[in-house]
Symmetry: C2
Subunit: 193 residues, 2 copies
């Protein structure tokens, strides 16, 4: 039992270390020995848990996807689909700023060396499209605004904040997202929201 | 003279090939032999023109920056700063879709293996901030909208289109940008634009 706990802790340390190394170096330059060194475990211990760099990237992205889903699930307890949307964009930015696994999970989506894996940006896009559909059903969208017309701008802007935030964390600040919604929300909700 | 022309043509073929290889493989996995093979020249010819992969990436990004500046200069001949802004976003997307040097130049900005180089996204951000300043001076912005409040959303959205467009060219289509401006312009310009 104690042994199992230790193994679980080592596995988690490896995932965390991998996320940091992927975010800093990119997938191509990240090496298994960098990752095991960062986690403070032997190469042998790494290979016991993960067979390859790809396997580690897969797990980082799956854990990032799960963290984003937990965040959107929590956001969905708010009243009204537009409030849910605003809360979730704040939630995503704060996780990108604070959680290396979420940050690396997204960054790997744009890494040409990485190939496939969970596409977190697409998962986020689908979530935005769904919540805007709900906003429309709830009668919250302004005249002439539809989920189809609004989703691309919101998806693109949040992906832009994500990408720019890797180089300059200021882009992930609460202030930036507040301003974004001050600009867009009156147009989305017809000025009454 | 003929020799000089041939050298200039070889150099340009190498820059074009480098842009393609950088965009497909990322900076870390791109190799000089991939690039010379793609350009149809010998390794020796490559080394005659460029001393390293970094030197090639520097030139790709400088040429991309020059192409973006030519595009914004042309856009600036339009009447009114908001029309200039709209035209330039269309111009950027069509260049990202059609010009491998511009595409690679931007993609290298987000590549963790690439380190420094011309930051095209920052150049674009400065241009957006300037043109919104001009729009404000021309009295074109709606009440309560300032360059500071509008620029981040426009910069982030266009960077988002750029990044999403690498995986799915649909994001760079004219239709996507038209919709973006249909959503945002009435808010930016107070509904009269």
């Amino acid at each position: 039992m104690v042994k199992q706990e230790r193994a679980a802790r080592t596995r988690q340390a490896l995932i965390r270390a991998a996320a940091e190394v992927f975010a800093e170096e990119g997938f191509a330059l990240a090496s298994l020995s960098m990752i095991s060194r960062r986690a403070g475990v032997s190469n042998g211990a790494l290979h016991f848990h993960f067979e390859s760099k790809k396997a580690l990237a897969d797990v980082v992205q799956m854990e990032a996807a799960a963290a984003v889903t937990r965040m959107t699930d929590r956001a969905e307890t708010a009243d009204g689909a537009l409030q849910v949307l605003v809360d979730a964009t704040h939630g995503l930015m704060s996780r990108l700023a604070d959680d290396n696994i979420v940050r690396a999970g997204f960054e790997l989506c744009g890494d040409p060396a990485r190939g496939d894996g969970v596409d977190l940006r697409r998962q986020w896009q689908h979530w935005i499209e769904n919540i805007l559909g709900r906003a429309e059903q709830e009668g919250l969208l302004a005249d002439g605004v539809s989920p189809d017309s609004a989703a691309p701008a919101i998806v693109a802007a949040t992906v832009g904040f994500e990408v720019l935030g890797f180089r300059d964390p200021e882009w992930l600040s609460e202030q930036k997202i507040i301003r974004f919604w001050e600009l867009l929300l009156p147009r989305l909700a017809g000025g009454e929201a």
